[in-house]
């Protein structure tokens, strides 16, 4: 393989990011994976999101998400100075194909990626009548789809609108934090495909994870903190108007 100096210079930053990711993610083999060693969450850096929809498409492709339903989606907020508590929000097809160009005005526009918050005290888990949905020992809210009744009580109980009843399987469905990937040392499909690093898988039990430093040095929030769900989708730079 002939690598020109030009190509080398282009690839250097990408390689640096990849190496950082490898170090942070501490890739493991599935057989070495210990549930008790992890406590997964997601860091969402709002100012970094450009609303490209890559994450939505990647999630749909990776997890075979049915058309019209979303394990993750992106919302675009338009907050006017006069009406800060009543933003104008759009998410055409979950933001899968990006967004229309915003009006050229001086008002505030930003994108907010949404997904299951993998709450430690999750209301969906609480209400499931048969325990088909549960928090795994490594902190991921999962659904045993072979056990789910499809009663939709969990869908009603989720404050974030992250769940739906799968139109073909007739059971509850939602983001699994790409559990099939993260237990093999990979990151989630959405995080892997985010071109700006707006989404980062975090392991709160891993002392080497940069999340610890990030949480110390940034103003990080969760969605709807008044719900006291122990949400583990941490948002950096979250505007107060976001619902």
């Amino acid at each position: 393989m002939n690598l020109s100096r030009r190509h080398f210079l282009v690839l250097m930053p990408a390689a640096a990011i990849a190496w950082k990711s490898v170090l942070a993610g501490t890739p493991e083999q599935a057989e070495n994976y210990k549930l008790s060693d992890h406590w997964w969450g997601m860091l969402i850096d709002v100012p970094k999101c450009i609303g490209c929809g890559n994450c939505v498409r990647a999630c749909a492709a990776e997890n075979d998400v049915p058309e019209g339903y979303f394990r993750t989606w992106v919302e675009r907020y338009h907050v006017s100075d006069e009406n800060m508590t009543n933003p104008e929000v759009i998410s055409p097809d979950g933001g899968k194909d990006g967004f229309p160009v915003a009006k050229e005005d001086a008002e505030k526009y930003f994108f907010v990626p949404k997904m299951c918050n993998h709450c430690a005290d999750s209301p969906c888990t609480q209400v499931c009548p048969v325990g088909a949905t549960f928090v795994s020992p490594d902190g991921v809210v999962l659904i045993d789809q072979k056990y789910c009744l499809g009663c939709a009580y969990c869908v009603q109980a989720c404050p974030y609108g992250c769940r739906y009843i799968h139109p073909e399987k007739k059971v509850a469905d939602k983001c699994t934090l790409c559990y099939h990937r993260i237990t093999k040392g990979l990151t989630t499909a959405c995080a892997e495909n985010c071109p700006t690093g707006a989404r980062q898988l975090v392991d709160l039990k891993n002392p080497k994870d940069p999340i610890h430093e990030f949480l110390k040095t940034h103003s990080v929030q969760v969605l709807k903190p008044q719900m006291a769900t122990g949400a583990k989708a941490f948002y950096n730079g979250l505007d107060g108007s976001v619902r």
């Binding site: 339903y69 979303f70 989606w73 919302e75 009543n86 933003p87 104008e88 929000v89 759009i90 998410s91 055409p92 097809d93 979950g94 967004f99 229309p100 160009v101 949404k114 209301p123 888990t125 609480q126 209400v127 499931c128 009548p129 048969v130 325990g131 056990y147 789910c148 009744l149 499809g150 009663c151 939709a152 009580y153 869908v155 009603q156 109980a157 989720c158 404050p159 974030y160 609108g161 992250c162 769940r163 739906y164 009843i165 399987k169 007739k170 059971v171 719900m227 619902r243």
Partner: protein, 406 residues
């Protein structure tokens, strides 16, 4: 290009019946008209049982003509109560898991136990105790298959000596006594299923179980009153006006409590005006205006309350009173159904982002469609008809003669 995208999104929203912004997974409603029927039916059960207990436990002799009919009505509706839930489930074949592996933190997991307790330990047992003498006599006087059915129904207990019947009566009294809190449990629990969902401000209220209990009593009492009047008319027998006067009086007072609780909830919401208020207020004034303001409050609550109030304070001829009771009873049932509709469907019409609204499109012939809902609403009346045929609630000349000959 951007204008086209916005235009397409708006068109999509219009087609989906969406106004403003809904989280993408919220557009379609998860709980349909069948889940509206479920609390309506269980409410009728609980209310009918409470009416029956008035005579049995609280010795309100005037309502005695409705005692057995109320029990059979409760049983007919209770048999149908799980059907809307079963039809709604994505995997009804897995529903026994709720019995075998119930999730202790889930309000819904208790359904099976509460249901079975109420059906078998309270209602069926009480009906059996009350009817045991009649069943034994019918098993002696009937012929063929019917005789066999009655024989089986005696469960081998054919002693109808005065002492034995006295024991039946005592045990029946205890069962009714246990049945009252059980009826409260059954319907209060249904209210709790909704009231405990903190994600939904339209539902989340500690008053919800209490409102459900009182509205259940209203619907059950109104339902039994109407059934009693209709059945008596069909039998070409005179309606016991003292009985319906008493039932109407109880209906009036319980209706006042129910309405006061609902108004308390409403006033509290309006005065507190928390973050969800603007969204809910808009919904009540638009999408829910007809079903909530017009049907539930004006037509289904205030009108019957005024009619019942008039019957309480003005001396009216018997015929007029009866007509007013029928009108009040029908309107009360419509009002309580509208209340269930507004709770279940209304609670899903707004986004949990409080930024938009969706529309409920009721299908016609699907598993959760309106035809199924109508069929399930009528089914208890057919079951009641069969039960009344099998276990006549009124003093049967035939059995009386048999008893005399015994």
């Amino acid at each position: 290009m951007c204008n086209l995208a916005l235009f397409l999104q708006e068109q999509g929203n219009i087609m989906n019946g969406v106004e403003g912004f809904m989280y993408p997974n919220e557009v379609g409603l998860q709980w349909s008209v069948l889940i509206v029927l479920y609390p309506f039916i269980t409410g009728l059960v609980a209310g009918a049982f409470i009416l029956a207990s008035l005579e049995r436990v609280f010795h309100v002799e005037a309502v005695k003509p409705t005692y057995r009919l109320a029990l059979l009505t409760a049983l007919s509706f209770l048999i149908v109560a799980p059907l809307p839930l079963q039809l709604h489930l994505g995997h009804p074949e897995r529903s026994p898991e709720m019995y075998f592996t119930p999730h202790s933190t889930s309000a819904m997991a208790m359904f099976g136990y509460v249901y079975l307790w109420y059906l078998m330990a309270v209602l069926v047992f009480e009906i059996w105790l009350d009817y045991r003498r009649d069943i034994v006599l019918l098993s002696r006087s009937s012929k063929g298959l019917l005789r066999l059915i009655y024989k089986v129904m005696t469960l081998g207990s054919d002693n109808i000596s005065p002492r034995s019947l006295h024991i039946d009566d005592k045990v029946g009294w205890i069962v009714t006594l246990i049945g009252i809190p059980s009826a409260f449990l059954l319907h209060g629990y249904v209210g709790f299923i909704f009231g405990s969902i903190k994600a939904n401000p339209w539902w989340s209220s500690p008053l919800m179980p209490v409102v459900f209990i009182f509205s259940a009593m209203v619907s059950g009492i109104a339902g039994v009153m109407l059934i009693y009047m209709a059945v008596t008319k069909l039998r070409k027998q005179p309606i016991d006006i003292r009985c319906v006067d008493t039932i109407a009086m109880y209906l009036f007072y319980i209706f006042i409590i129910d309405f006061s609780l609902e108004m308390l909830d409403l006033i509290h919401r309006i005065y507190e005006a928390d973050e969800s208020f603007r969204s809910l207020n808009f919904m009540v004034h638009t999408k829910l205006y007809f079903s909530h303001i017009v049907v539930q409050i004006i037509l289904g609550t205030v009108t019957p309350l005024v009619l019942l109030f008039i019957t309480q304070v003005v001396k009216l001829p018997e015929q007029v009173r009866k007509r007013m009771y029928v009108a009040s009873g029908c309107l009360a049932l419509i009002g309580i159904f509208a209340m269930r509709w507004n709770v279940v469907i209304g609670g899903q019409l707004f986004s949990k982002s409080f930024l938009g609204y969706t529309t409920y499109k009721m299908a016609l012939v699907t598993r959760e469609g309106s035809i199924v809902a109508v069929a399930l609403s009528i089914l208890p009346l057919f079951i009641l008809w069969a039960l009344v045929k099998l276990l006549p609630p009124w003093i049967n000349d035939h059995t009386s003669q048999a008893a005399a000959g015994d």
